[in-house]
Symmetry: C2
Subunit: 441 residues, 2 copies
């Protein structure tokens, strides 16, 4: 008779302690993003299927959760809606739709879940949160410097001090692939191999390239070029075609601007950084920390995506932090502040006798007016049992109303940590408890 109770595969329930940590991290990120002039935006979880299809490459298409059309339902199996796959494509749709209502330079942040029909694995979920900042309407390298600085400030404020923002440029990559003699039709597949350089090393990349149809000579050349690139500015320019040189100069400008922000010490040019998504057109970024395989987030410039909706291109650049990975690292490193609430309430209101319950509710109301979180014990169980219950939940104070207290207009407050108790005027009890909480820190 009983039904399955676990959440759907790859999805998670978040109990109170989880939510408190998640909200703490989201709160810090929001505050920092707002300081950079980013404004909040939210889009629906569900998009028209056609809005998402064809934006994320072939693999992406496969991972989109599709929703059955209303009415026909199971019969036809026709799907017309889909779950949001990232926050960038919906943003591009929004910018195309509301253009006249938005500032010319539209800076928005968006912190919402996305869904991918990926095979679930350790640390890989089918529902996960992204924390995005994007600026639309300017091609200035100030934008790149500022999104990197915003993300950098957010991580710093969360307590991270060992992250690196790797940066590259799609046009530099294209140029260097051309110089290495890799034909344009193989650029995509070659980049997939290049992207693994950190993981599988130069020999691994060569083997993988040959498996993907890239000539051994060209693969060799490409890896040599990566070695030179970035080491010597003048030599680097000689290796690039004119588009590549312009892109390289754009990177220099981003570095120069970032110098005077918190991102300056974090940025590192990585000529082999490729990023999977197909919509990037300019600078691309990825954030790494030493103790995490994979990245904490990534982003880049995508000047043509809004154009797919608007028919006219709007420059855009952004950065996305992965909430789940930030939480994983913070938990492993013990980075959460000890001040995060861990109990359901600051004080439990005990009920000495069933007939006194209305008095207990009234005094609970008084305590709440002072901002205290108050749990009212709902039954007139033995007082020892009630106190034990508060203690088992870590609630630090218990307020007790017996006949004497009710008559005198007082309330007795037990401090379960210090194992002391005192009786106060009902109007004064909140102040005493707040003071006691402050002393606990």
């Amino acid at each position: 008779m009983a039904q399955r109770t676990e959440p759907a595969r790859g999805m998670r329930d978040f109990l109170p302690a989880d939510i408190r940590r998640r909200e703490y991290v989201i709160g810090v990120i929001k505050r920092v993003y707002e300081r950079y002039g980013f404004e909040p935006l939210e889009t629906p979880a569900v998009e028209n299927l056609e809005t998402l299809m064809g934006k994320y490459g072939e693999e992406g298409n496969q991972l989109i959760f599709k929703i059955l059309k209303r009415g026909e339902h199971e019969a036809s199996g026709q799907a017309d809606l889909a779950l949001r796959y990232d926050l960038t494509v919906p943003l591009s749709r929004v910018v195309a739709h509301y253009q006249s209502k938005l500032p010319r330079l539209f800076k928005r942040y968006q912190i919402q879940p996305v869904w991918r029909a990926d095979r679930p694995a350790r640390g890989r979920f089918r529902e996960f949160y992204q924390c995005d900042v994007d600026a639309l309407g300017s091609t200035s390298p100030v934008i790149e410097a500022e999104v990197c600085a915003a993300v950098s400030d957010a991580l710093t404020e969360l307590g991270f001090n060992d992250f690196t923002i790797r940066i590259n440029h799609r046009q530099v990559l294209t140029s260097i692939l051309n110089t290495a003699g890799i034909s344009e039709s193989l650029h995509g597949t070659a980049l997939v191999a290049v992207d693994k350089l950190d993981k599988i090393g130069a020999d691994g990349v060569k083997t993988e390239m040959s498996g993907r149809g890239v000539e051994a000579g060209a693969a060799e050349k490409l890896l040599e070029l990566f070695e030179v690139l970035g080491k010597d500015r003048e030599k680097s320019r000689e290796l690039l075609d004119s588009a590549g040189v312009a892109a390289f100069e754009n990177l220099q400008a981003i570095f120069a601007h970032a110098e005077d922000t918190s991102a300056g010490v974090r940025l590192r040019f990585d000529p082999s950084l490729a990023r999977g998504l197909s919509y990037y057109t300019g600078a691309i970024f990825e954030i790494t920390v030493p103790d995490l395989a994979g990245s904490l987030g990534g982003g880049g410039r995508y000047d043509n995506l809004v154009g797919m909706f608007l028919g006219q291109s709007v420059p855009a650049c952004g950065f996305s932090l992965g909430l789940e990975r930030i939480l994983v690292v913070m938990a492993e490193r013990g980075m959460f502040p000890p001040t995060l609430a861990t109990t359901p309430a600051d004080v439990m209101m005990a009920v000495f006798d069933a007939k006194d319950t209305p008095h207990a509710l009234r005094v609970a109301g008084l305590l709440r007016q002072s901002g205290l979180r108050v749990l009212v014990y709902p039954d007139a169980d033995k007082i020892g049992k009630q106190i034990k219950y508060a203690d088992s939940l870590g609630i630090p104070f218990v307020a007790i109303l017996g006949g004497n207290e009710i008559e005198a207009g007082t309330v007795t407050v037990k401090n379960l940590t210090a194992q002391t108790q005192a009786t106060y005027d009902q109007a004064a009890a909140a102040g005493a408890i707040l003071e006691g909480l402050k002393q606990r820190g």
Copy 2:
């Protein structure tokens, strides 16, 4: 070439001004719920289809958005997942699954979107937020009084002063239907008619009842009974069978407990209140305001729902506020505080000359360290154009760095509202702007 840009049918995009209002309301509701000892919980947007099917009645089943099974996709049309339809069924699943990790009395709040494949209409959306409080593990009427008080405090804190919490009891309803001589098989359909009493009046209900197969005599009797019920306590008891009397006494206890809470003055017994969902077993509530057809929220006791997952029943009672309707009424009545931010930033950092951009970024960083929200203008456009841009967005202050300021380590701050300007040491500018913001109120 350009694609559709509107959101999917019945779904909405929320621009910055919308989000600020939504977050304000959610913030107030959360704070009040926490004061009552409710803890935060979140569940996935996506549930196993079988978790949702059969919990909401036949009409509910029809309105569940179904998601195609991964892999097979369009080919088979098979669906194995579905979008969350409310927050109560997922809560019941969670309580069954994590029982040993949760307090014996589990009080949680949950503020998340739900999805229904309803026909969209004015004010009816396919994605909308619910703000739920529920307490599981106790049958005490203290629970009913406290969820009503929590919801009542939340609405009061938002500025509502004219709402009513209508309350009834499923067992009283059943009892009175029996007394009227309506056979049990017609109870469900009779209640649908009864629920419209407010809208279509007594004659309307009689007509509708006869259309639904209820004898005219029984319908007449039922309406008479509603008239008597609640007017006279002793007479009311005589009309009810023993289960009905017990339920009636339960309502009296809830009223008595609520008396000493903020809900006391709000509660009104409404013997014709029925509530649509099939899982209610005890007291049921609905909140109304004079200027809104439909309710701001509703709830009740559902002691058997967790049992459908656990195989063993757990008493439960809760209240759900509808965020969208609260927002509609607040907007119509102009209830949002004037202090809600309406601009993307407190100050815009202008860039006088492209070569000075790094200085502008550095000073922007200084201002941000004081918590100011700073927008850096990304291009070295004419300074007049930059100031005009800030003004068009309602940004109250513009900070300007020219050659003189850079040399002197100062920054000029223009107050666009007062049309004044002054030059400060770069380290002192934040303080001056914060002071200026405070004076604006």
